[in-house]
Amino acid sequence: MKSGFSLDLARPSRRHWLGYLLLAPAVLLIGLIILYPLIVSVDLSFQNVNLARLDQPRRPFTTANYERLFASPDFWNASWVTFKLVVIVSFFCFLLGLGTALLVNNRFRGRTLARLLVALPWAVPEVIAVVIFAWLFDSSFGLMNWIFIKLGLIDTTVNWFSSPGAAFFVVCVTMIWKGYPFVSIMMLAGLQSIPEDFYNAARVDGANAWQRLVNITIPSLMPVLGVTLVLVMLWVFRDFSIIYVLTGGGPLKATQSLSIMTYEQAFGFFRMGYASAIGVVTLIVCVIASRLMMGRAPDNI
């Protein structure tokens, strides 16, 4: 070996200038477009700023944004809406995702096609999913009104986007349809990593299908299940496009989540400082919640 080769990649201690050099572009770019903006927004949240211009002198430090925020019923409404969304959407995404994954994990002819189809909504951009469901739930000619009347669930056509409860329902349905395929894909990958021997052994012991599901499948899926749950909840918690394009947060703020409220305050009313404060609170909740849920395995998120 040449003398210049002091680099041994197999040794645990391997500080080398190349390691730093390779990291440099990423550090620079992340610093510039993620870290610096993040610092700016935390800074903004402590100022009374309306239009954010960085070339203007900094406003005096104030905690007024946060005080106003926690005293504002709109903020607590948005928190409640977000909480409801996270619980309901994540739950049904899991039900549907796990169900479909178990279904297409069976051996049958055409299962490659079935696997593709079952997760197809994953490949539909959120804005397009909104177009689909806005039309399905259209008040005059939407298909869902017709189907629900035929099924006897409603008596007359419902104007889905003008009643708070109905609009919230449509937002949930759209998000579940867009979100479950991710769970399905993750669960299917998890299912395929369970050795067939486990099931054979259980069959020999006389375990029925339900017992095999509860005693083998679910416990084996637990690690993937946890990561996926956190990822889905984070997605629902922060999602902007679906709600914004579908309802804009209305009617009567019934679908105004924290993300929507942040955006509306920033770009509807141009209260950048106040909006930053909501965003910072959202981020803190995200980080704490996912740390708590992930427990000791933070490197998986």
Binding site: M1, D8, L9, A10, P12, S13, R14, R15, G19, L23, A26, L29, I30, I33, I34, Y36, P37, S41, A52, R53, T100, L103, F108, L116, V118, L120, P121, A123, V124, P125, V127, I128, V130, V131, I132, W135, L143, W177, A189, S193, P223, V224, V227, L231, L234, R238, F240, S241, Y244, V245, T262, Y263, F267, A275, G279, T282, L283, C286, S290, I301
Partner: protein
């Protein structure tokens, strides 16, 4: 295991019903696109139009600047993916192979960056881009999309490089490669599937963005991305669902095609790092 015929019938039945129900919204988008306006108002609804309006796609391409929107989306996605992949490949390799001071903190920061709400980051980015006069330019969303993509790709690639045995580089270096040469000539070619999966995933992230495009490009019509264009159609043409649906299909098509033909790669990227 003995498989009873009744079980088989039940299995096929549920697969067909479940797939049918879940894919139906996409089918309905398609039917809506090729229906005439009065067919859309028919009750009971027509689940296949009597006279399919196939020309709707050609017509919408002529009437609306959809090709411009699509090419803007493609440019933004290409730009942000190239930018993100360049820095992520190097960083991912470094995080995988070297013990660098501060490397762990960087990794942790990147993880936290994944949790950043776009609605929080969009506020300071708006201020910054206004100061440097990037609002309305495609560069604004190329940089903004990089904030979405880099945290994912860096971590995915680190995970991918971790699976490649170190002996490969050692052999290359014994044969006279420099450490950098070993990475470029040996590790990167071996990682091609992982790189492709990661880049595709980044492309999908960029293609699906709406929040950044809405904020930075609303007043620059010639730079509208496909998603932004679609939402403006939804706003103005309350009744013309056929046209909106046809445009939506054209916008969704690239990602659908990527998914249908390269599902293996995409799913590989999606689940990488999560199965531990």
């Amino acid at each position: 295991m003995k498989s009873r015929p009744l079980d088989r019938i039940f299995l096929y039945g549920s697969v067909i019903v479940v797939c049918g129900l879940l894919v139906f919204p996409i089918y309905w988008l398609f039917v809506t696109a090729i229906s005439t306006p009065d067919q859309l108002r028919a009750l009971p609804p027509k689940f296949w139009p009597e006279t399919p309006r196939w020309e709707v796609f050609g017509q919408i391409l002529r009437d609306r600047p959809i090709l411009l929107w699509l090419s803007n989306s493609a440019l933004a996605a290409l730009g942000s993916v190239v930018l993100s992949m360049t820095v992520s490949v190097l960083a991912g390799y470094s995080l995988s192979r070297f013990r660098v001071r501060g490397g762990q903190s960087l990794g942790l920061f990147i993880l936290t960056a994944k949790m950043l709400p776009a609605t929080l980051l969009v506020i300071p980015l708006f201020g910054i881009f206004r100061t440097v006069d990037l609002i309305g330019s495609l560069w604004s969303i190329i940089l903004a999309h990089a904030t979405l993509i880099i945290p994912f790709t860096t971590w995915m690639l680190k995970g991918y490089f971790d699976t490649i045995p170190r002996e490969l580089e050692q052999a290359a270096m014994v044969d006279g490669c420099s450490p950098f040469g070993a990475m470029v000539r040996v590790i990167l070619p071996v990682s091609a599937p992982g790189l492709a999966a990661t880049a595709l995933y980044g492309f999908v992230l960029s293609w699906s963005d709406y929040a950044y495009a809405r904020t930075f490009l609303t007043n620059a019509q010639s730079n509208w991305t496909a998603n932004l264009g679609i939402t403006t159609m939804k706003g103005e043409y309350i009744s013309n669902w056929a046209d909106i649906s046809a445009a939506s299909i054209l916008v969704a098509l690239p990602v659908l095609v990527i998914y249908l033909f390269l599902e293996r790669y995409l799913v590989g990227g999606l689940t990488a790092g999560a199965e531990k």
